[in-house]
């Protein structure tokens, strides 16, 4: 559960929403046999109760595995930590942000670069090979319905989830892949994704990213950079909306049951600002500090402070107070 308060907002109505958000999820899994399992994930949050994952996994061999159904698309590093209980901070990195982002309206920043969780109907073929015991090479290719929108003006998360159904809106497959190298406690990865999002399948998007994580002297370091080019219709003209985002994150236990995480992240938008005549670039730079106290293994209390700097709007401060329960 996360309670968010926003301070210093002269135009608060456009800035974002205060208040409490309860995110709850459960992920039942059944091992049908040694090689086959089925998994579903139910969650409830801003968009009500959603079955956001439901897939079967077939493990033919270490090098060849198949995941099909409503899948968590393997893009970047954060996709494995999008569950609030799995990450060290209460908010998502800006490149992956959705409705919690300040200035989230379509005429402002809309979504991040790749809103997460990115769950889609499709299949992933993946596997890994090991070079000795030292180097893991992980690979995955996927095909999915892809992002969707009712028009050709960027896509929205609301169109992606159950309100619009899970069927494809343009009968055009979105596809991509990921390659990750892991050695010891360090991982480097690269991901790519492309598809068309409008009903006529005339406008496409391409997303690519690089990511890395490592543990160094007890500090967990994480960083990602990703960029998206999205073709949009701007008063009938075909234009390109560019978004870039990054985050760097350091997590560390501090003392006994106290731990801390620091993150700096940014988001850059260049191109047409939908519904306005603003055609200039606009950016966000934010830093966040989260401290966590875990009185018991099962739960922790978190407090987080964020400072947002906008190139085109007034700065804002956000405070989160959260309770994370793991069961």
């Amino acid at each position: 559960m996360d309670f968010k308060g926003i301070h210093r907002a002269p135009d608060a109505n456009e800035l974002g929403k205060h208040g409490a958000i309860v995110e709850w999820s459960i992920k039942p899994n059944v091992e049908v046999s040694e090689k086959v399992s089925v998994t579903a994930r139910l969650c409830t949050s801003c968009h009500g109760l959603t079955i956001d994952q439901a897939y079967a996994e077939v493990r033919l061999r270490r090098e060849v595995n198949l995941e099909a159904g409503r899948i968590n698309v393997p893009f970047g590093d954060y996709y494995q930590r999008h569950d609030p209980a799995s990450d060290a901070l209460l908010s998502k990195p800006l490149p992956f942000e959705m409705g919690h982002m300040l200035r989230y309206q379509a005429t402002q920043f809309n979504l991040g670069v790749l809103p997460m969780p990115y769950v889609d109907s499709g299949a992933t073929m993946f596997g890994d090979v090991w070079i000795g015991e030292a180097l893991q090479i992980w690979y995955g290719v996927f095909g999915a319905n892809g992002f969707r929108s009712q028009n050709a003006q960027d896509f929205t998360f609301k169109d992606q989830v159950s309100t619009a159904g899970f069927e494809d809106n343009n009968n055009r497959l979105s596809w991509g892949g990921r390659l990750a190298l892991a050695r010891g406690e360090a991982t480097l990865g690269g991901s790519y994704l492309q598809g068309e999002y409008d009903p006529a399948a005339a406008y496409d998007y391409r997303v690519w990213g690089v990511d890395g994580s490592a543990r160094l002297m007890g500090f967990q370091l994480r960083a990602e950079y990703l960029a998206r080019d999205t073709e949009v219709s701007d008063a009938g003209a075909r234009r390109t909306l560019e978004k870039q985002g990054f985050y760097g994150q350091i997590e560390t236990p501090v003392w006994r049951k106290l731990s801390a995480a620091w993150r700096i992240d940014g988001l850059l938008r260049e191109g047409p600002s939908l519904g306005t005549d603003n055609d200039e670039s606009s950016a966000i730079l934010r830093w966040a500090l989260c401290v966590s106290v875990a009185p018991a293994l099962e739960y922790s209390f978190r407090a987080q402070y964020e400072h947002w700097r906008f190139t085109d709007f007034a700065d804002a401060d956000v405070v989160h107070v959260g309770l994370v329960v793991t069961y």
Partner: protein, 372 residues
């Protein structure tokens, strides 16, 4: 702004590259293979200081590998039971950038099996009826229940046949010996994970008697034995008196781990392992050769881990100190252990796959009277 972002990315990439260059080698066998900083353990660490050294090393691997994509709280707080971990670790090791090699996976699995049993034992409320069988604190997952009739298989006449099936790569012949009261049949090299155990409950035929046990150095055990045995001259009678003494003086209560006989004697409480260890010491102190056994025993709805003993009475005779059985009933299934003391240095619960054995009692239908 884009230049600024680029600079940040370059700096972060440089930091990651530095970290990667300092990453410890992942090869097996080195003492420093997985150096764990205190800070690595995070807010969800568990106290493993009382765990065996090997498990403490395994914990270091677990703590590092399993906190990479999520907090360590997730697996630690998981409700998964011992039999579920194998598939789960297998799946997780195949995740993007997991860094969990097959060797790491085995290490992590071994720890999780050990830990889930250890911590469950300490956490669950104990059903008194099951106390004798509790070294895991609950019925083992994966152990099939008896046939629907739920008959008491102990009342069945003649040898008891129990079909056993393990994980596909498990070789049952490594765990179940063909002994006097127990034979492994229908086992083939082609399918070494399947077989049947024929349990007759018979004592081993007389053979060469073991050397008389050396006198125990523990005065407290000698004194207790003398009190228990009294003036009994016959070996069987001495054993019966020791069983009576244990029944009267020891409280049946779940205790984690198993201490030395003097400590058990001082505590006067214990479960099957404590009863067995103290019994063996007292039997030997009375001059009767004795040895501990571990394995499974059938009770109520399934098979459970258990410990009992064997004494030499013109042959090795199974005796269950906790249940007060002489001889022990034929539902006791012995698991082979290295060394003479089954309770020392080897933990059946930590052997991958042993807790996922499937037992099914084979009861042949008797022809109905007058039936054709």
């Amino acid at each position: 702004m884009s230049e600024w972002i680029g600079s940040c990315v370059v700096l972060l990439a440089a930091g990651l590259a530095l970290a990667a260059s300092n990453a410890p080698p992942a090869g097996p066998g080195s003492e420093d293979e997985f150096k764990v900083f205190d800070a690595d353990l995070g807010r969800a660490w568990i106290d493993v200081s009382a765990y065996p050294p090997e498990q403490q090393k395994s914990y270091a691997v677990f703590a590092q590998k399993c906190s990479k994509c999520h907090t360590l709280a997730r697996p630690i707080n998981s409700s998964l039971q011992a039999g579920d971990w194998s598939a789960y670790v297998n799946r997780m090791s195949r995740k993007s950038g997991s860094g969990i090699s097959p060797h790491d996976g085995e290490t992590v699995l071994a720890f999780l099996l050990f830990d889930s049993v250890r911590r469950t034992r300490a956490a669950v409320a104990v059903d008194p009826e099951l106390v004798p069988f509790l070294e895991v604190g609950r019925e083992l997952s994966g152990v099939k229940r008896f046939p629907a009739s739920k008959q008491d298989i102990r009342a069945e006449e003649g040898p008891l046949r129990v079909a056993v099936e393990g994980d596909p790569r498990m070789d049952l012949s490594r765990f179940f010996a063909s002994e006097a009261g127990q034979k492994l049949v229908k086992w083939t090299r082609r399918e070494p994970n399947r077989g049947e155990l024929v349990l007759s409950g018979e004592a081993a035929a007389a053979g060469k008697a073991p050397a008389p046990p050396a006198a125990t150095a523990e005065a407290a055990v000698r004194a207790a034995t003398a009190e228990a045995v009294g003036d009994a001259a016959d070996a069987r009678e001495r054993i019966e008196r020791i069983l009576d003494w244990l029944d009267e003086r020891m409280k049946r209560e779940f205790r984690p781990g198993v201490g030395d006989p003097a400590a058990i004697l001082a505590d006067r409480r214990g479960d099957a392992t404590e009863f067995t260890r103290l019994f063996v010491a007292m039997a030997r102190a009375s001059g009767v050769p004795a040895r501990a056994r571990v394995g499974f025993v059938a009770r109520r709805t399934g098979f459970f881990f258990h410990a009992w003993a064997e004494v030499w009475l013109d042959g090795w005779v199974p005796v269950d100190p906790y249940l007060g059985q002489l001889p022990a009933d034929r539902t006791h299934i012995v698991v082979m252990t290295p060394g003479d003391d089954a309770l020392a240095g080897w933990d059946a619960r930590a052997v991958p796959g042993l807790d996922r054995l499937q037992f099914r009692v084979v009861i042949e239908k008797k022809p109905e009277p007058g039936g054709g």
